[in-house]
Amino acid sequence: MYGRGIYALRDVSLVVEKGEFVFLSGPSGAGKSTLLRLLLRQELPTEGSVKVAGRDLAKLTPSQAQTYRRAVGFVFQDFKLIATKTVLDNVGLVPRVLGATSVQQQRRTFQVLKWLGLQHRMNAYPLELSGGEQQRVAIARALVNEPALILADEPTGNLDPDLSLEIMNLFRDINARGTTVLVATHNRELMRHVGRRAVSLDHGHLVETS
């Protein structure tokens, strides 16, 4: 709930099983991003609880919250790549800050970049890449730590239809490897193409599940 009695999300009850692929749809302002921020523990619910793998996120200490986030990969609409770092450094930053050795860091980073077809662009800077490439780098960064859960907030919002389809296929492949995927999008065409469970939000209410 925001101040003055305005609810961002209300009476939302949603269970996502391990290994599931779920679309979160709805118009702008419906509460999709808020739900993802709650799942990343960027925000805490004023009422109710958010549980991941049985743990109530509101009860985590700041240190435990950081440990939890290491098991979650996040993909943003605007990519949020560090402009001053190369593709290799952007993706390698995750294992680096999490204490991987230099050899582990290079191996993991190269593996994920190769899987996403970016190995030939690893020395490029974000601004030298196309929108699709930038989003793939962002997905590589989310994947490099082999998270159990991937959250994506409008990951195709800045991409043309062909690239959007390519990115969605990537998420489907990631899910096929056993990773739970939750994608917020308002693109019904893409949802139909991927054909997975969809949950719809409107003005903070869960109005439809298909």
Binding site: R69, R70, V94, R96, V97, L98, G99
Partner: protein, 297 residues
Amino acid sequence: MTAHWLTYCLDEAIASLRRQRVSVLLSVLTIAAALLVLGGFLLVTVNLDRAVSRWSAAAEFSIYLADDISPEQRVALNTLLDGQPAVASREYISKADAALRFRRDFPDLAAGLADLAQNPLPASIDVRLDPAKADGAALETFAARVTAAGGVADVRFDRRWLERLGRIAAGVRWAGWILGAVLLAAAVLTVATVVRLALHARRDEVDIMQLMGAPIGLLRGPLVVEGILQGGAGALVSLGALYGGFLLARVRILAALGATPDAADLGFLPPGMSALVVVIGMAVGCAGGYLAARHVR
């Protein structure tokens, strides 16, 4: 924190320092100015302490004898001096020897002395003390006994003014610490501001790292290291400037005194104290960096 994380913090801090050279230069110069003031006071007091110590080692009693001192009084005085273990040696200076010394030390005034009908300079005994046995309170008592002895006109005791000089040196040192502390507090705020600017410049990066689950210590670490590097650089600049100033001042002081470098015995800060200045600089930088890093939560 592992060595790997320390390397990460150092790499990020150096990259940040390179990105904002101008504001970092300002911060380094602020720390350098504060430490230069503190270092300057320390340098003065170190040399004062050294002079006091050197003069204390050569401290003398000068016992001026009355012209009419009797042989019995002279014997009693010698007995008194023999009984004091702090007396390392003594030399009797007759009135004629005193006049000779005066003419040698003050040739311009020698003619005036020759014009006098009789030699006004008193005979004296110069007593050299053994620093290892020269206990302050016992010597004060001894000086009082000598002053009260018969046939003694006056006693000049070097240690008294050396103690006063020592107290002045301590006062200068405290003034330096207090002024230095005020300036260093200002330097802490300058470092904090510059590091906060660096934090704003890489806010996106810090936010992304937070979302990736980077430990808080790792998010704050580069900022603290950046402060420490600024502090260390400021300290080195201040030591360089202080050494340059010391060399210039020494040339001028030696020229003014007409003394050789050995005679003046002027020295720079000893290595331990120089290291202390660097440690203080790094501590100031660390405090500034931490103040800025607290904004990362």
